[in-house]
Symmetry: C2
Subunit: 290 residues, 2 copies
């Protein structure tokens, strides 16, 4: 199955962002992609660099903001993984991935469960932790383990998806460097980000798709020099092997052939699910064991 | 803290294996190592290539087989992580890591919990799954998260160690290639093995030490052409960064400086433990969620 990974820079012009994204989705479909994975919060700048109540105006009812992608999925006959700023009620917002099936219907949605809060990534201010649980979404191209950004650091989330039969792990994401980090530190961060997700592929015997943002975005508060999103979107196979990787500094469209049958074989060779010591795992639901 | 990683080939001559290992432990201590990590089942060949009841004769009371290492730890003033074939009772055997503290006392032991069973690695025949649970071992050089080989594929085991304050993950291991695998497949396997463990380092913000066997060992049954253990022992820091890696085809002694203070900083930058969704993790103790 051909999977498209779209890596773009974003501007403050939402209409322009959407137009450029639609053009790229059309290009991906024309190249045979049946599943199209977008980066996190693809309609806008990454607005969590500051805490500003006016920014909630960017959120919307997903029925409205998703209509464009639903129509596009139907027209092109492709499955599209989107990532949007959901206004659920006044004062209640989520970072939500919506998956549109090839007939334009909503196959399912996932509300980001693990919410970061670090300098420049003030997400706990904007996003209520997801209350839909961690569950894969069934589509016409397979059962998709859609998670979002910070989730990617959590082996628990990946494993829960695998235990529910997810055939692919998919991470829309927005991650980058603060400009005052050293070159060494930047390299370690990028490699750590790639490694932990490839690790999920290995531990669970399923492919991983990560779609990241690229380019520099200023800090509106001026407190920092902003974030340079590191691109490097990638696809890895069920042994964690890199199948494709985007550049760190420019837009990219990856069209990657994913062989879902290969997972069956890899899990026969490496039957990790067989040997899990579930009698010992209950303490994983503890905050800390002291 | 200087940590030594010893990577050796083994022969059928147990006395010779132990003598060569003792020499290497002395060399490591002379180079300033305070913690010395050995490979899995370092006293013998990897005997699980066939199922043979006579092989149980290799197992012993750990008080007996460990005396040498206990005395050496005391003499050299170092902490030694050993891996032995434990005879606990008639018909009851374990694959057990024993840690000797710098005063020669037994700091603790860990009985391998995840037991593989694959062609050439018939461990379920030999080793009863560990019943000591998954707990770190306190020593004079820190709290050590000692796991063994197949455990290395399980994020659950690494996380349980981290949640109990382990400062290092340590994997004595014996893993290699079957000779009929293609070069591509061999490369993927070695990289997957490295990646999943580096992923544990990243997800938990702690260093990982893996000590592997090296060299070819015949299949006594003649059914296969045997196993070529792939060496490539390594140390990774708390961002998964490779600090040292041994060659795939020869013996090696790594002396690696591990900065335990660095973990404190890495976990401040990447506070993954803060955001775990423990309300969602109970199903991890299920075999499968169907």
């Amino acid at each position: 199955m051909k999977v498209a990974i779209i890596q773009q820079y974003k501007t403050a012009d939402i209409e322009a962002n959407r137009n450029r994204l639609v053009a790229e989705i059309r290009r991906a479909a024309a190249q045979g992609a049946r599943l199209i994975v977008n980066q996190e919060l693809h309609d806008s700048l990454y607005f969590c660099q500051t805490e500003d109540v006016d920014t909630f105006a960017l959120a919307s009812d997903l029925k409205v903001s998703g209509e464009l992608y639903s129509a596009l999925a139907r027209e092109l006959g492709v499955v599209i993984v989107t990532s949007m700023f959901e206004r659920r009620a006044a004062g209640l917002y989520h970072n939500t991935a919506v998956v549109y099936d090839a007939d334009g219907s909503e196959a399912g949605r996932y509300r980001k469960t693990h919410i970061p809060d670090d300098p420049g990534f003030y997400e706990k201010f904007y996003f209520t932790p997801g209350d839909l649980g961690i569950h894969p979404i069934d589509t016409s191209v397979g059962r998709l383990g859609v998670l979002v950004c910070w989730d990617q650091w959590y082996p628990e989330a990946a494993r829960l998806m695998a235990l529910q039969g997810a055939e692919l792990l998919i991470y829309p994401t927005a991650i980058g460097w603060q400009d005052n980090d050293s070159a060494d530190e930047k390299a370690r961060q990028l490699e750590a980000w790639t490694t932990v997700q490839r690790g999920h592929a290995v531990a669970n015997g399923i492919p991983v798709i990560a779609a990241n943002r690229v380019g520099h975005e200023d800090d509106p508060s001026g407190a920092t020099s902003g974030i340079t999103f590191w691109g490097s979107s990638f696809a890895a196979g069920p042994q964690g092997e890199l199948l494709w990787r985007a550049p760190a500094d420019s837009e990219a469209l990856g069209i990657v052939d994913i062989d879902l049958q290969r997972c069956e074989n890899v899990r026969r060779w490496w039957p990790f699910l067989r040997d899990r010591r579930i009698d010992l795992y209950s303490p994983l639901a503890s905050r800390y064991l002291d």
